[in-house]
């Protein structure tokens, strides 16, 4: 099950990240997971939120450059070697990860990770076969 990540282009200017977060906060959008990809001169903010449709509309209305990306959220055993066990499976099946980052909170005793795959559909097939729990949009809204 894919979930929606929102990517926001951030130019290298003071307060730009604050602008995004305060806009979302003021409209009751809750950020569940977040990471920033930074380069020398600009950044891309990646977030998973509880109301993604509303959030992107809001961002675009406020002149932010934002777009959707399909990602997969996976439950990982919260113990030493937990992530390694998942990565082993993915590696054995030649599934390439472009990037990944952690959730702000968890809704069970397991950690939640957001993963962006080179081939999302293929990655999902592999994960399903191995009975690795993939988190749904509904579950995220309910966090």
């Amino acid at each position: 099950m894919k979930i929606t990540q929102i990517s926001v282009f951030l130019e290298n200017r003071k307060g730009r990240l604050y602008d995004v977060c305060s806009l979302l906060g003021a409209h009751g959008v809750n950020i569940r997971a977040l990471t920033i990809a930074e380069t020398e001169s600009f950044g891309v903010l990646r977030i998973v939120v509880d109301k993604s449709e509303a959030a992107i509309k809001l961002l675009r209305e406020n002149q932010f450059v934002a777009n959707f990306t399909d990602v997969v959220a996976i439950e990982v055993p919260d113990q030493p070697g937990g992530l390694a066990s998942i990565l082993k499976i993915l590696s054995e099946h030649d599934v390439n990860i472009e990037y990944m980052y952690g959730f702000v909170e968890k809704f069970s005793d397991k950690a939640l990770l957001v993963m962006r795959f080179e081939d999302t559909d293929f990655a999902q097939q592999v994960l399903a076969k191995q009975k690795i729990h993939v988190v749904t949009e509904k579950e995220i809204e309910g966090l």
Binding site: S7, E11, F42, V44, R60, V65, F68
Partner: protein
């Protein structure tokens, strides 16, 4: 009275009347060649000049219309060529105001004449065949490198054709070969000075005593600073690729502005608005006619450089008038570390890239002693898919596109739409924050 060195004493100290007589003879020859080109044939006949004999005196020059960079663009590639390609032995080109470059062709005797003017210039500064000459200007299509190279060889200096850039190597070579003379932009020599410490080199390890400086505007303060820091004499040089390159005008040992070699160039200073020729001493646009070039004759070329001519002679005894340093430009051309860049060249490229919007800004400042050019563009929202690698690739592509046109690598900044200033009416695209000293 100091000992004044000359390369061609007779011509360099000739009476005014003799210089004008030479100019008239050579102008007639040049008209003959110009009449063979598509660019000038109609222009000249329209003003009643159908043969060299129609030029009776130097005053007739004023009947001829000016030539602009745009005229050379329209004539690209060969509309201004007066000889067959068999007789052309070299080509140089410089940036045009758009993607079309300005091309100059040289016949054997053109290169010979140019080389001689540079030999004359080099000797006028007191350099001799015992000097070690490190030529730090860019070689290639740019005229700065090769021009001085051949002039220095003719005088007999030991030439190190190192070309531009690679500061570590420049410093090492200056030390290894005990370089005594360099040809360089003022900003690059300041940059080299700032890096000596890092290389563990002190001035006493070097033997430098002279610098020929040109290709970018600089103040008398900058020259003094350069001379004090490096403990050298720095001589100003002036030229432009349309008129050969360096060697149009050069300072002598007196260092009081640059002698225009008037047996090769007819220099006029005009009011850039009206085109009226101004008297000596008044600032205006420099207009040059090269009277010793066969393959690409150029008549009354509007350089867009602002300067004035000194009315009185020089302590060195040369009779060729002196041109002031360049005081400004009549167009929006930028000079970035000695490289000429037109904002229109940048605009042309930006407009062809679909991922960026039409608003952009050209930003120029200093990083240390060197100029830094940054082009700021706004990304087009619909083409943002969230991937950093795509944005990096876009940035890289813009750099490459611009580099192909302006020859230097600019910094490129991606901005959010609407974040760059928008102007009503004429946009202010260029922000130049370089200090004016």
């Amino acid at each position: 009275m100091m000992d004044i060195p000359f390369w061609s004493r007779e011509i360099e100290t000739a009476e005014r009347s003799r210089i004008e007589q030479i100019q008239l003879e050579r102008l007639r020859d040049t008209i003959g060649w110009a009449l063979k080109t598509n660019l000038y044939r109609r222009r000249l006949t329209q003003v009643g000049i159908g043969s060299p004999d129609d030029v009776k005196s130097l005053a007739d020059l004023r009947r001829i219309p000016f030539t602009t960079k745009d005229d050379l663009r329209v004539s690209f590639p060969k509309g201004h060529l007066a000889v067959g390609m068999t007789d052309v032995i070299r080509v140089h080109s410089s940036s045009g105001t758009t993607g079309i470059p300005t091309v100059i062709y040289y016949a054997r005797q053109d290169l010979d004449n140019w080389t001689d003017l540079l030999a004359r210039s080099i000797v006028a500064t007191g350099a001799t065949s015992s000097d070690i000459f490190q030529n730090m200007m860019t070689y290639g299509l740019f005229t700065g490198g090769l021009g001085l190279h051949y002039g220095a060889e003719r005088v007999g200096l030991t030439v190190i054709p190192i070309g531009g850039g690679n500061t570590k190597r420049q410093i090492q070579v200056m030390k290894d070969f005990q370089t005594t003379v360099v040809h360089v932009t003022p900003s690059y020599l300041l940059h080299i000075h700032s890096k000596l410490g890092e290389e563990g080199i002190e001035l006493k390890d070097l033997a430098l005593r002279k610098a020929f400086i040109g290709a970018e505007p600089h103040s008398e303060n900058t020259r003094r600073k350069l001379q004090d820091l490096m403990r050298i004499d720095a001589y100003n040089s002036y030229g432009l690729s349309e008129l050969n390159g360096p060697g149009v005008a050069f300072e002598c040992v007196c260092k009081k502005d640059m002698h225009v070699w008037e047996d090769a160039f007819i220099v006029e200073i005009i009011d850039p608005q009206t085109g009226e020729v101004l008297p000596d001493g008044q600032e205006g646009e420099v207009v040059l006619t090269n009277v010793v070039r066969r393959a690409t004759p150029i008549l009354r070329y509007r350089t867009r450089d602002l300067a004035f001519l000194h009315p009185q002679g020089c302590d060195c005894g040369r009779t060729h008038r002196r041109l002031s340093r360049i005081l400004g430009r009549t167009d929006d051309m930028l000079i970035i570390n000695g490289v000429n860049v037109f904002p229109s060249q940048i605009e042309e490229k930006i407009m062809k890239i679909p991922e960026v919007a039409t608003n952009y800004q050209i930003h120029v400042d200093k990083k240390g002693a060197l100029d830094r050019l940054t082009v700021k563009v706004e990304i087009y929202p619909k083409l943002f898919l969230g991937e950093v690698s795509k944005l990096e690739a876009l940035k890289h592509r813009i750099v490459e596109e611009l580099k192909a046109s302006i020859t230097i690598s600019p910094g490129v900044e991606l901005h959010e739409p609407g974040s760059l200033p928008v102007y009503e009416g004429k946009a202010k695209r260029v922000v130049d924050e370089r200090p004016k000293d």
